[in-house]
Amino acid sequence: MIIDAILKINSNAKCSVSGSDIDTCEITWHDGTTPISKEDIKAMIPTVEQELKDAEQAAIDKKASGKQKLKDLGLDDAEIKALIG
């Protein structure tokens, strides 16, 4: 999550993060990447969290709509399960 927030700020950032708490984690910047302050990273985390939730929900919605379209084509639940599990 922390590194995703970093990449949201700078998509080309090369870095490593040890730990999952922004206040205590250790960030190492590689290949001359300009460091980003923890405050800026912290501010970006809610945005990344929301995007992650949205993406997961979108995947759920897509699966549901795909199933419905298969049903609309006449497939029963067993056939759909055989196709997509």
Binding site: I3, D4, I6, S16, H30
Partner: protein
Amino acid sequence: MSSILKVDQLQDSGGNNIITSDGSGNITTGTGMGKVLQVVGTQTDTVFSTSSTSFVDATGFSLSITPSSASNKILISLHFMYGLSASVASACRLLRNTDVITLGDPLNNLGNVYAAHGSTNQGFGNFGINYLDTPNSTSALTYKLQVLRGSGSGSLHINNRNSGTSTEDRIGSLTLMEVSG
């Protein structure tokens, strides 16, 4: 009445040492008695994430051992969960001190952690190997895991699938066993 038999050496009928003691409780045994002589291990639930496209040390996966004989081998057991934030190929390798332990792969990779999937979804899995190393040394050896994020964008995570949820943190382990040669 119990008895105590005190000896410092046992030999077979051919005069070959089977078991020898230095008198202080330190035992050595003859060849052909394959066994584990010492075991060291480390476990970590520290989540390590990287976007580096060159190999970097993974926190918590470093361990030292000193073989008692140059003819002995080191059995390495490495296990961890990984996650990928996007469609990206990643890789890992093990180092013995500064030397890459290679399995013959031209990239010196022990293995690839890879997932191909939609650009917004995550991929995750488990990685584990057992590798018998022949260091030919009696010096202290430090084994460590290095990882990189390969092609594509996003990041590689060790000990979490990149959920950002600490309840999904997992424990990775590195165990070294000195085995008689």
